[in-house]
Symmetry: C2
Subunit: 127 residues, 2 copies
DNA sequence: AGAATAAACAGTAACTATTACTGTTATTGA
DNA sequence: TCAATAACAGTAATAGTTACTGTTTATTCT
């Protein structure tokens, strides 16, 4: 009753995402599928990606908007899922991780960012 | 000679950023400064934040656009500074870090994301 | 199976974040 | 002090994303 129905487009979008490791943007998914599905709409891609991400079937990766920090030395951040606030965290930065990443991938790793998420001290009480 | 000049607006913007730990967006900085500086332009804030970030005086934090991943279990990523490609990294995820973050901050930490950056294997040879 | 209900769609308009452009102001080196 | 031009204010344009409108279609209930 209350809710979600099957849709061929959602299936398509999800399958496209499962078949790749490119971490595509909505635009990319749209362009992959459009030729075979000429009347697929970009809005549909966005809607379904958000839908799938909200239900936890796929994963969203990015801050919504660009933020800036005057502390330039690398340090971890905490980003609240509820209010969107970003906090600094006083935790050690481990350069050894970069070496491990290089070994695991072969890429020329120059640094890394750690971002924790959850509910911040202000939002926690509010449920 | 070669370029950069002093500007009161850049100074203002940088000082505002140094005085806070809110990791503000360009919009936030603009709204803080606008009342005291009625003819400050939002474009100027964007331009100077980017300028300061490019020269390494401040730090930018975000992917430019939203990306999606069908692998929902937490795992680190590598984002190439040159081509913008995003790769999965086969490295262990350490849940212990979340506990440490909780202890350090008091926030209700539910997870973390690690994003390495540098030049990917394709871009490395191209300089 | 066939009709009724509403979720999901395509197409498009609107909105938000960011960058580019234009004419003006102001820093700087001579 | 003055010419050269970086940086500015204001605004237009662009890019990414979301919302709206009328239509299609999956599901539910006979």
């Amino acid at each position: 009753m209350n809710g979600k129905r099957y849709s061929r487009q959602r299936e398509l979008i999800y399958e496209a995402l499962r078949q790749t490791d490119e971490h595509p943007t909505a635009e990319m998914v749209y362009h992959w599928l459009k030729p075979e599905n000429p009347n697929l709409s970009l809005g549909t891609v966005y809607r379904n990606l958000n839908l799938l991400a909200d239900e936890g079937t796929i994963r969203r990766m990015a801050f919504p908007v660009e933020r800036y920090d005057a502390r330039t030395e690398p340090h971890p951040h905490f980003c609240c899922d509820r209010c969107g606030c970003v906090y600094d965290l006083e935790m050690p930065y481990d350069p050894e991780l970069d070496r491990q990443a290089l070994l695991a991938s072969g890429h020329d790793v120059t640094g890394h960012a750690v971002t924790f998420h959850g509910l911040c001290v202000k939002c926690k009480p509010l449920h």
